[in-house]
Amino acid sequence: MDLLGQMVGGFAVALQPVNIGAALLGALVGTATGVLPGLGVLGAMAILMPITIHFSAVTGLIMLAGIYYGAMYGGSTTAILLRIPGEGGSIVTTIDGYEFARKGRAGAALMICAVGSFIAGTISIVGLSFFTTILADVALRFSSPEFCLLALLGALTLVRITGNDPAQNTLMLLVGVALATIGVDAVSGDTRFTFDTNFLGLGFDLVPITLGLYGLSELFHLLASHTGFPRADTVRLRDMIPTRSEWSRAWPAIVRGSGIGFLIGLLPGPGSLTSTFASYGVEKAIARTHRDEFGKGAVEGFAGPEAANNAVATSALVPVLSLGIPFTPNVALMLGALIVQGIQPGPLLLSQHPDVVWGLLASMYIGNVALLALNLPLVGLWVRLLRVPQYALIGFIFAISFIGVYTMRSSYWDLCVLVGFGAIGAILRQIGFDLAPLVLGLVIGPIFEKALRETLFLSGGDLSIFVTRPISATLSALCVVAVVGPTLATLWRRRAAVTKQV
C-alpha cells in the first residue's frame, strides 16, 4: 500500500505538464539520435545533458531518462532497416531483424520491436519500483566499507567483461579515476594536481569528457571517412501489422527477454550487450519448430533481444537510485546529472528526495506509452531522418555540443576539455582502446575514494574491516570472483575442449 501511495505521489509529479513535455521531448529526441548510426546512447545523452541541467532536478532527470530509453529504441530501427546497430545493444537485432525485413516484413519487425519495447519497459518499471525500494532499505545497512567495495566491484566487472582486453580496460579505468582526482578534493577541500592554475582547480567535469569521447570523436571519424548515412526504404504504416502467427511467436520471446534483461540489468557489468546475447541464446536453445530459421529472420531472434535491451535500460537504474553506484557509463551519466543538480545519490535518496525518484519512475510509464505512440506513426519520419544531409547534422551537433557545455559552468576550460577529449577519443578508438571504463572511472573514482578514506578513518587504518563485516566480506569475495572468475572459466573451457579432442 505504501508503495502504491508513493507511486501515486510520483504520478502527481510526472503528470505535471512540464514533466509530461520533458518525457515526450526526451523520448522523441532520444529516438532521433538513436536512429542515427554512430552517436549511440551515451553520445546522445552527453549532447543533451547540458540542456537538461537548466530545468529542475526532476524535470531534467525525466528528460534524460526519456533520451536514454528513446535512444535504446531508436537503435533498433537502423538495425532492422539497414543492418547497422544505432547502439551496441542492437547488434543482435541486426542478425534476424534485418533478415526478417528483407522478406518484405520490415514494418512488422518494427511494430514487434515497438510493442516488445513497450512490454519490456512496463515489466521492468514495475520491477524497478519494487527492487529500488527493497534495495534502498537493504542499503541503509551499508556503510563506507560496503560502498567502497561496491564501487570496486562495479569497476572490476566492467573491465573484465567489456571490450577485448582487460589490461587495456583497466588502464583506461585508472586514467578515468586519476582525472577525477584533479581539482578540489571533496573530502578535505584541498586542491590537487592544479599547479596553481585556476582552470585545473575546476577539475575535469563528466559532461565535456563524455561528450568529447563519444560525440566529437564520432564526428571527427565521420568527417575523416566522409561516407554519409546509408539510405533506407520508406516503411508504410499499413505494412506494420504483424500476422497472427508472427504475434504468437513474438510475445513469449518478448516476455522471456524482458525477464532476462531485467535480471541482467541489476548486475554489475555491461548489461545491454550481455542481455541481448543471453536472450538470443535462450530463444535459439528452446526453439523446437523454427530453430533452422535463426540467422535467417526468426521472429524470436529479434523480439526477445530487443525486449531484453529495453528491460536492461530500466533495471540498470536500480543500483543508481538505491545505492548511488552506477555499473554502466549510461547510468553513470544520469548519476552525474543528479550530482550537478545538487542531489546526492545513495540510500538516502529515496527518503530525502522521494519526488525525484517516484516522479522519475512514474514518468517512465508515461515515456513508455509516449514511445509506443510516437514511434509507430512516426516510423516514416525516422527513416527520412537518415536522408537529412550529413553536413547539416554534423555542424548542428558540433555547435550544440559547444553551447551546451559552455552554458553548464560558463567555462572556456570545459570547451578546451571537450575538444581535447574529442581528439583523444578519436585516436584511442582508432587504436582499439575501449572508452567506457574511462567514463566509469571518472564517476566511480570519487565514490570509491571518499568511501575508502572514510573506511580507513573508521578502522584506524586497519584493512581487515573489508573482510570482518558480513556484507563487506561477501562483496570482497565477489570482487575476487570478478577478477579470477573469467580466467578460471577460460581455463576450464580450454581443458574441456582438450579433453573432448583426446
Binding site: 554512430g38 582486453d165 590537487r192 594536481f193 559547444f402 574529442g422 582502446f433 580507513l456
Partner: protein
C-alpha cells in the same frame, strides 16, 4: 565502418597499442611522481595523496604491462585516415580550436555562424546550404537557450564594445 559506428572496438595493431600505452605510462609516471609528494594522512590512506598514489602505481604497472607484453594475438585495427581524409579531420579540429579562441571576442552568434559555414563546406555542403545552416542554427540556439531556457550566452567583447560606443 560498422564497428566504428557502433563503438565496438576491433583488435589493435600491437605497435600502435604499445606506443599509445608507452605515452600513457609516461603520463602515469608524472602523475605518480606528483602524488608521491602529497600527504598520505594519519592513519595512512586517509590523506589527499593516498588514493592518487595507489591509482598512479596501478596506472604505471598496467601501462608497462600493456607496453611490454606479447600481443601476437591482436590484429590490425583498420586503416588510419590518410591524405585528404586525415586533413579533413585535422581541419575540423582546427575549426574547433578557432571557435574556442573566437568565442570570447566575437560572441556566440558570429562565432557559431562562421564555424557552421566552414564546417558545412568541409562536410561537402553547397555554399547556399552552408549559409542557410549558418544563419538558421544560431537563431534556433538563441530561441532555445536565451528565450526558452533563460541562459546567459556569451555575446563577446566585440558586440559589447559596439553597443557600448
Amino acid at each position: 565502418m560498422v564497428e566504428a559506428a557502433i563503438g565496438v572496438d576491433v583488435p589493435s595493431a600491437p605497435k600502435i597499442v604499445r606506443s599509445a600505452s608507452l605515452i600513457l605510462t609516461a603520463l602515469g609516471l608524472f602523475y605518480l611522481h606528483q602524488a608521491s609528494m602529497m600527504p598520505l594522512g594519519d592513519p595512512p590512506g586517509t590523506g589527499i595523496g593516498a588514493v592518487p598514489l595507489m591509482v598512479g602505481t596501478c596506472w604505471v604497472a598496467f601501462g608497462l604491462y600493456v607496453t611490454i607484453r606479447n600481443q601476437s594475438g591482436l590484429v590490425d585495427s583498420g586503416p588510419w585516415p590518410k591524405g585528404r581524409a586525415a586533413l579533413r579531420a585535422l581541419y575540423a579540429l582546427l575549426l574547433c580550436v578557432v571557435y574556442i579562441v573566437g568565442l570570447p571576442f566575437l560572441g556566440i552568434f558570429i562565432t557559431t555562424g562562421v564555424f557552421l559555414v566552414l564546417m558545412a563546406r568541409l562536410a561537402g555542403a553547397p555554399s547556399t546550404s552552408a549559409l542557410v545552416v549558418a544563419v538558421m542554427t544560431p537563431i534556433a540556439f538563441w530561441v532555445i537557450f536565451s528565450l526558452g531556457l533563460k541562459v546567459s550566452l556569451p555575446y563577446g567583447s566585440l558586440l559589447a564594445a559596439v553597443l557600448g560606443s
